[in-house]
């Protein structure tokens, strides 16, 4: 008898709690994310994507959530791990769409994953603001998947940035025309090297060393020795994180004297400066930001405070901006109806930490930084498309 009374009381109590709780908080908006928590791309995901989602959730929920229909609705994250496996990725996105029925999703890390997931986003009308996806097929892809948006630039845009940087250095008399170029033999590296071969030659550069190396090469010293033997004025590597680190270390060891030293992904990582300290002063790489704007300064400060680490100097800010676009589009359209939000993204301009984002007729934002240079602990943009605020590149002066 006693026990029964207790159970009844407990149930009543729970009910009243539940009711009062439900009356206060609005139904959350569910945000889906499929991350590479392990596997080959996990290292990049952990630097560029995960902390920004954490930061954005913190910022939004501190205000009580997103303002929709006159009420603030908190945002709740539903996240799965795909182990950097495209088949798992597709399954997890399907699960988010049809089982968890999330309201929105954030785009994955890596070109291949964005493209593989695009048909599912399209099928369920999710707007997909791709960031870490660099391709020359933007027009074809957005024609096929009209709710897909691109923010970080095209393959050609990237190579053109690098070409302009080298041209500027050449006209300043810093370098001559001899370029040593290497690339990682994976889709990303192969594509960039292929475009670069054409653009560099067209700009009057002579490619004196042009080799690829396989993914996971344990010793890149023969590559750097080979490049050095070709006596280049500039060194360009379309590389991935582990080889960006390895090539730079070998260049220091071989004392490769060039007026321009460029490595691609991970040059913008804080860990790159952490590993090499002052030796990388003047190094060029993919990305770069304008660290001087107030919005960027505030973003970098908050990122450090909330996540305990610094953001990278490239796609971090853009990824955070993509979240801001989503946020402003949901609040602007004043609904969680995905088609309305997608239409809002297409038709409006957004104020973000990287400045204004406005998508063109092909859902592409033609505003991005493409080449950065390490200067005094900051990786500053020295080439861009549509940004107009990058500074002039300077010579790389030795490795001391």
């Amino acid at each position: 008898m006693n026990r029964r009374m207790f159970a009844c009381a407990a149930a009543a109590l729970a009910l009243s709690f539940g009711l009062s709780h439900g009356a206060k908080a609005e139904t959350p908006i569910k945000l889906g994310m499929v991350a590479h928590l392990s596997g080959p791309l996990a290292g990049g995901e952990a630097v560029t994507h995960l902390p920004n989602v954490q930061l954005w959730l913190e910022e939004v929920n501190a205000k009580g959530g997103l303002m929709v229909g006159g009420k603030r609705r908190p945002v709740e994250l539903v996240q799965y791990d795909d182990k950097t496996n495209p088949a798992e990725h597709i399954k997890a996105v399907q699960r988010l769409a049809t089982q968890d029925e999330v309201d929105f999703m954030v785009a994955p890390y890596g070109t291949g994953f964005n493209i593989a997931a695009a048909p599912i986003y399209a099928k369920y009308n999710y707007p997909m603001i791709a960031v870490t996806a660099i391709t020359d097929e933007i027009h074809e892809l957005t024609a096929k998947f009209p709710n897909m948006f691109f923010t970080l630039g095209s393959t050609t845009g990237f190579v053109e940035g690098a070409t302009r940087t080298l041209e500027k250095l050449r006209s300043d008399g810093v370098i001559g025309s001899k370029v040593a170029m290497v690339n990682v033999a994976d889709a990303f590296g192969i594509e960039l090297a292929d475009v670069a071969r054409e653009k560099f030659t067209a700009a009057g550069f002579e490619i004196v060393y042009d080799k690829s190396y396989p993914l996971g090469t344990p010793d890149l010293s023969p590559v750097v020795k080979g490049a050095k033997a070709a006596d280049p004025d500039a060194f360009v590597a379309w590389s991935y994180p582990p080889d960006t680190f390895a090539l730079t270390e070998q260049a220091i060891i071989e004392d490769l004297q060039v007026g321009a030293f460029y490595t691609a992904v991970a040059t913008a990582f804080p860990a790159y400066a952490g590993k090499f300290g002052g030796a990388i002063e003047g190094n060029l790489g993919a990305g770069g930001v304008n660290p001087e704007t107030d919005a960027m300064k505030a973003y970098r400060k908050r990122h450090q405070e909330v996540t305990g680490k610094a953001p990278d100097f490239w796609a971090s800010a853009t990824y955070y901006s993509a979240l801001q676009v989503l946020q402003q589009a949901i609040e602007g359209a004043d609904t969680t109806d995905r088609e309305a939000v997608t239409a809002y993204i297409k038709n409006n301009a957004f104020d973000t930490v990287i400045g204004t984002i406005k998508f063109d007729a092909h859902n592409n934002s033609e505003r991005y930084w493409s080449v950065g240079q390490w200067r005094n602990g900051h990786f500053v943009a020295v080439a861009d498309t549509g940004m107009g605020d990058s500074v002039a590149p300077v010579a790389k002066k030795g490795w001391k």
Binding site: L37, S38, G39, P40, A42, G43, E45, A46, V47, L50, T84, V182, A185, K211, S212, Y213, P214, G216, T217, P218, D219, L220, S221, P222, V223, K225, G226, P241, P242, F245, A246, E249, Q250, I252, I253, E254, D255, A266, F269, A271, G274, K275, F276, G277
Partner: protein, 287 residues
Amino acid sequence: MDIVISGLLLGGAYALVAMGLNLQYGVARIMNLANGEVLVLGGLAAFWAFVSFGLSPLLTLFLIAPLAFAGSWAIYALFLRPLVKRAKSRGQLEVDTILATFGMSFFFVGLMVSLQAEYFTYSFLAWPISLLGSTVAANRLVAALVAAAIAAALYLWLNRSRSGLAVRAVAVSPGSARLVGIDVGKVSALAFSLGGMVTALGGCLISTFVTLDASAGVLFTMKALIIVIMGGVGDIRGAIIAALILGLVETAVATIVDPGLTLVAAYAIFLAVLLFRPQGLFGRRSA
């Protein structure tokens, strides 16, 4: 000359990757698919000690050694001995250990991801040393020297001591070893733990010049399997010579032909060796 020196240094690094697995598979008959993860764990320890306490990886070696030995012993005693006991044949043991260590490799990756999801990258001894007119990285030289020391110690121990003799006996034939009064279970546990220790030490050294991450283990597991098989199962000399051959071939091809073909050449050499010597360089024909 560049090729020979760089090649030997790379070979030294490969020896670090493969010697441990050679002991584990050759003696304890455990096809350890989690070998690469143990290596990366060693690298993670070195990274963590360096970044948090400024501890030199060369000192971390001495901390890792007993930990890795004890950890491997525990894994063997808790997880692998039951499989050895229940296996009715060599084939079944192989299948069971493949499945079990595959599970362990996942577990270790998950564990490391939760500890450090980003790249383990730091700078240690990253300065040039001139060696016979060729420029090499100090950290690679150190790794190769330690590899040589470990290899020499293992070789002397296996060939000059009583316990080493017992290990070799088990490698050749566990059945006969038992007949002459060798405690096969204990020797296998010893070989497995030593193997785990050598692998973890290798990871500690390799992390000074290769940027590792929590998921990098599988690359090393595959390299180690290739080297062990190319050298011949159960012979430490085989693993070392196979490692040096791979190092030299990769460096030569990268320098003379095309860096894009280094791994192709390495695997081609491996395949060629097996086609001409199906039991590996130093292997015995199976009975």
